[in-house]
């Protein structure tokens, strides 16, 4: 029976997943390995922070949309107030999102932040203020993405519940109407 076999999903968007991971991995790898090759802190700083910034942009603008269907941004409205906006796909599409994609998305985001924290602890222990600076910048970028997407996901769940109750309510009323029309 088809039901008994596990359907093995592959990644639905392999290229997006690749880019999602590559910049994070490159920033971490460069930071860790650079001490072996470069003497100059400046290059380490600039390249690591640049890769981290690229990763932030890719996650926020590309992989967030494609892998999990979430998006967050900040706007300044007419009154000059800052408004954070969160958006998600409609719940059907969210339900159809590839599970492997979203697993990869969330896990790599969390793991990267943890990795930066660990590296930061090492730098603190060694009293290297320069490296603490690099790590704090990278960590800020990672945490910004985590917070943004987590808020977005909570918002999406709230919407799904609202939508479901709305649908049930309208189905109920239409059932009532059809029941009355039959009578």
């Amino acid at each position: 029976m088809d039901r008994n076999q596990e359907t093995r999903e592959n990644y639905a968007n392999p290229r997006t997943c690749f880019f999602h991971v590559i910049f994070k991995a490159a920033a971490l790898a460069f930071y860790i390995l650079s001490a072996l090759f470069f003497n100059s802190f400046v290059i380490i700083f600039v390249v690591t922070v640049f890769l981290a910034a690229l990763d932030f942009w890719v996650v926020k603008n590309v992989s967030g949309r494609i892998l999990v269907g979430l998006r967050w941004w900040n706007e300044i409205n007419e009154q000059g107030e800052s408004v954070w906006k969160f958006e998600c796909l409609d719940h059907e599409s969210l339900a159809r999102m590839n599970k492997k994609d979203s697993w990869l998305f969330w896990w790599t985001i969390y793991l990267t932040a943890v990795a930066w924290i660990v590296l930061g602890i090492f730098s603190l222990i060694r009293f290297q203020a320069d490296y603490v600076l690099v790590i704090s910048v990278c960590l800020t970028l990672s945490i910004a993405n985590i917070v943004g997407f987590t808020k977005c996901r909570k918002d999406a769940k709230k919407q799904i519940q609202q939508f479901a109750s709305q649908t049930i309510a309208s189905q109920f009323s239409s059932t009532l109407q059809s029941a009355f029309s039959l009578v």
Binding site: R3, V42, I76, E87, L133, Q159, Q166, Q171, T175
Partner: protein
């Protein structure tokens, strides 16, 4: 329908299912149309509806569960609405990919990653250039300065700060790393502190907008640092730095002064000037 489903449906439940599907499609379609007006496009950019969805221009009133308040997060399915034009930092261009996901459901060929990415990159670059022109260059047609940096972005400031750090570090003959680190930390921390200063003086400015502004106003000093890098004459350096310093302060003045109470203008502007002066000294004194 699931594969192994062999139970025949009762005729009335089939019609209920059809009705539910129609409801879903209706709500999806109607809410697709309303999301576009919910995000006002920023002034310098014209909205060019490009997407193939037929629903973008209609003005169907929002479905009941969509809150229209400003503070509420804008909701609902966005897919067809993200035509390449509208907007902000995040990108519409993948909107095509999202439309593929939502409307075609299974097995829709994902757009090649390069296409959406290039569009997004182009849009972000054009935003950086726009912001730069708005902030730094003399612009008699500039409207209310407080509103000019509405679409703030931090890419411009990031590049300018890094460039300034690199220029200073390159000019330094010893201790290059320290120079760079100090320059970067000073500029970044300085921008944050200046913003806090304005906020604590009771001014009305948005944190990121102010960070973005102070970063963009570093552009003249970047130019000055580049010139000083190329020509190592002290008198030339002093002249160049004074000119660019005046330019930076002049660029920052309208935004900062518009943000605070007129009686406290000097209190808000003096630290900005001080920071630029110190950067100027750093440029001159670098040996």
């Amino acid at each position: 329908m699931s594969h192994g489903d062999t139970i025949p449906l009762h005729p009335s439940s089939q019609s209920d299912i059809d009705e539910i599907e129609n409801l879903i499609y209706d709500s999806v379609q109607s809410s697709q149309a309303t999301v576009l007006p919910a995000r006002p496009p920023s002034p310098p950019r014209a909205s060019i509806p490009v997407s193939s969805s037929p629903f973008i221009n209609s003005n169907i009133p929002p479905p009941s569960y969509q809150k229209a308040t400003v503070s509420a997060p804008s909701k609902q399915p966005v897919p067809a609405v993200l035509p390449v034009s509208s907007a902000d930092f995040s990108t519409p261009s993948g909107g095509d990919a999202r439309q593929g996901i939502s409307s075609d459901a299974f097995g829709s060929p994902a757009n090649t990653l390069t296409e959406p990415v290039w569009d997004t990159v182009k849009r972000d670059l054009s935003r950086i250039v726009n912001n730069l022109k708005l902030v730094v260059f003399p612009n008699p047609y500039r409207e209310d300065p407080g509103k000019a940096l509405r679409d703030w972005d931090l890419w411009g400031p990031f590049f300018f700060i890094v460039f300034l750090g690199l220029a200073l570090s390159w000019s330094a003959s010893v201790k290059k790393s320290e120079v760079f680190a100090v320059a970067f930390a000073m500029l970044a921390a300085g921008a944050v502190i200046l913003t806090l200063n304005v906020l604590l003086l009771g001014g009305h400015i948005i944190f990121f907008q102010s960070l973005s502004l102070l970063g963009y106003c570093l552009f003249p000093l970047d130019v000055g640092a580049l010139i000083c890098l190329l020509k190592d004459n002290v008198i030339l350096k002093v002249i160049v730095v004074s000119v660019t310093l005046a330019w930076s302060s002049w660029a920052a003045y309208p935004f900062m002064s518009a943000a605070v109470n007129p009686r406290r203008k000097a209190l808000a502007l003096y630290p900005v000037f001080l920071m630029y002066v110190s950067v100027g000294f750093l440029i001159i004194a670098i040996d």
